[in-house]
Symmetry: C2
Subunit: 287 residues, 2 copies
C-alpha cells in the first residue's frame, strides 16, 4: 500500500483534524505535524492526540512529505502561492493539497506557478455544522464522495498519492473540471447554506417580539436550520469566490419559491399538489 | 391515573399509528379501534398490531370513548361537524380531538356546533417526512411540545382527559389561542416545508440536464431537503388553511434571502460576516 511518512496539517479544525485522526488510525501516515495560526487550536489538537507534534509554520513546510492545507478558501489563496514557492526550494518538493468547497479561484491563483504540478485540488464532501479541533471526529469521510479537480495539471505521482490517501479514508473518488465542480456544489451545498442562513435570520427576527417561539420548534425546523450554525470564517470566502455560479442558482431558487408562494396565495390546491408531487421525487435520490 | 377504555383512531397514518402504539404500550387505553378510508392502511395497521380491531366508521363512532381524528386538515373540516352531530346522539357523548398543524379554520368550522365543547383542538409537534401505518413508531412524541388550542371552549373533563393522554406520551403541554398557534407554526414549521419543497424543485430542475448531480449531495443538502419528501395530502390543506399567516412569513423570508443575495452579489464580505454571525445565534436555541 502507498503510504506517506510525514503529513503536515495547516489548519487544525473540523476537516484537518478529522483527516489527521483517520490517516493516523489507518496507518496511512507515520507522523502528523500540525500548525494553526490560533495557538489554542494547536494546543487542543495536541491534547486530543489529533497531531503528533505542533510545530512552527516554517518547520512544517520543511519536514512534511505532504502538506494538507485545511483552512478557509481565502486563506488558501493567500498561502498557497507562497507555500509552493517555499516547497520549490526543497530538494524533493512535497505534495500540497487543499480541501475547499470552491475550486476555480484557488486553481487560478497558482495557474502559472512553476510548482503548480505539485498541487492537487481536492474537495472531500463531508462536514458538520461545527468547527475547531474539538469538532474533529473519526469516520467523518467514510463512504462519502471526494472530488479531485483539474488533475491533468498535477503530477501523476502527486495525484496517485492523494487518491490513495482518500482511499484510506474510504471515500468515493470522482474527477471533475473546476468549473463543473463549482456549479454542482452551488446546487447541492452552497444553496442549502444560503437557504438555512436566511431561515435562521427570519425566525430570529420574529423571536425578538415573541420570546417563546423556539418552544415550538419541532424536528422539521431543526433539520432545515441546522446549516445556519456553520461559521462565517469558512462560508464568507466560499460565497465570495463562488459568486458567479451561486447567484444564478439562488435566482433559480427564488423563482421556484415565488411560484410556490403564488400557488399558496391563490389557494390553487391543484398546482400545489403538482408541485409537491414533483418535489417528492427527491425521495428517489436522497435517502 | 386517568385512563381511557376505548379509543377510536380515524386515519391510521404516521401520527394516528404512532399515538396508538404508545397509548396501548403505556396502558393508557384498553382497546384501540381503527378506521381508515383506505382499506390497505387498515389491513397494515392490523397486521402490525397498531390497532386491536379495524372497524367500520359507524362502529367506531358508536363504540369509542375518545375519537382521535388523525387525518389531513381538509378531511378534519369535512368530518368534524358530522362526527360531533353523531356523537351528540349518544347517551354519553365521546371526546373528539384532532392533531392538525393548523387550527383556526378547524375550530371555526364547529364554533357554533351544539357539541363544540366535546371537541379538543390539539397539535402534538412531532413527525417525520414519512407517512402511512408503516411509518408509525414508538417514542415519536417523547419529550416534544404539544399545543392545546382555545381550551376555554372545551369541557373541562375533555381537556383533562386529553392532557392525561398526552402526558402518557410524555409530551410537554402548552396552551395557546388558535391564531397565535397558526402564526407560530407558520414560522417554525410551515415555512421550513415551503423552503424545502422549493429547494427540491430547484435541484431536480437542474438534474434534468446534469444526470449525476446527486452523486455530490453531501449531508448538508440531505438535511435541508429532507422535508421535501413530505406528502401533499397532508401539506396542501395546511398551506391552504394557513395561507393568511403563512404568506407574510414567506415574504419576510424572501426579504432576508434577497438581502443575503445582495451581500453575495456585491461581494460585501463584511455584511456577509455580520449576517452569518447573526444567523449563528440559532445555536443558542436549537441543539
Amino acid at each position: 500500500m502507498t503510504t506517506i511518512g510525514t503529513i503536515g496539517v495547516i489548519g487544525l479544525g473540523l476537516i484537518g483534524g478529522s483527516m489527521a485522526i483517520d490517516l493516523k488510525r489507518t496507518q496511512f501516515v507515520s507522523t502528523v505535524l500540525g500548525y494553526d495560526k490560533n495557538p489554542l487550536n494547536g494546543a487542543t489538537a495536541q491534547k486530543l492526540g489529533i497531531v503528533d507534534r505542533v510545530v512552527s509554520y516554517e518547520q512544517l513546510l520543511q519536514e512534511s512529505d505532504l502538506i494538507l492545507l485545511s483552512v478557509p478558501a481565502d486563506a488558501v489563496i493567500r498561502l498557497l502561492p507562497e507555500i509552493l514557492d517555499r516547497c520549490g526550494q526543497r530538494e524533493c518538493p512535497p505534495i500540497v493539497m487543499d480541501v475547499c468547497s470552491v475550486k476555480k479561484k484557488i486553481i487560478e491563483c497558482v495557474a502559472t506557478h512553476p510548482q503548480r504540478a505539485r498541487f492537487v485540488a481536492t474537495h472531500p464532501m463531508s462536514g458538520t455544522e461545527y468547527s475547531g479541533p474539538e469538532a474533529a471526529l473519526s469516520g467523518l469521510f467514510d463512504g462519502k464522495a471526494c472530488i479531485l479537480c483539474d488533475v491533468e495539471h498535477s503530477d501523476a505521482d502527486c495525484v496517485k498519492k492523494v487518491e490513495c490517501l482518500y482511499q484510506a479514508l474510504n471515500m468515493r473518488l470522482l474527477r471533475m473540471g473546476a468549473e463543473s465542480h463549482d456549479l454542482h456544489t452551488a446546487y447541492v451545498s452552497h444553496l442549502s447554506h444560503v437557504i438555512s442562513f436566511a431561515l435562521a435570520l427570519t425566525v430570529l427576527d420574529k423571536e425578538k417580539d415573541e420570546k417563546n417561539i423556539f418552544d415550538l420548534a419541532s424536528g422539521g425546523f431543526s433539520s432545515t436550520v441546522r446549516l445556519a450554525k456553520s461559521n462565517p470564517q469558512m462560508w464568507v470566502p466560499i460565497f465570495a469566490q463562488n459568486r458567479d455560479c451561486l447567484l444564478p442558482v439562488v435566482d433559480a431558487y427564488m423563482e421556484h419559491l415565488k411560484n410556490f408562494r403564488e400557488a399558496i396565495s391563490t389557494a390553487d390546491t391543484e398546482h400545489l399538489n403538482a408541485l409537491i408531487d414533483e418535489a417528492n421525487k427527491i425521495r428517489k435520490t436522497i435517502k
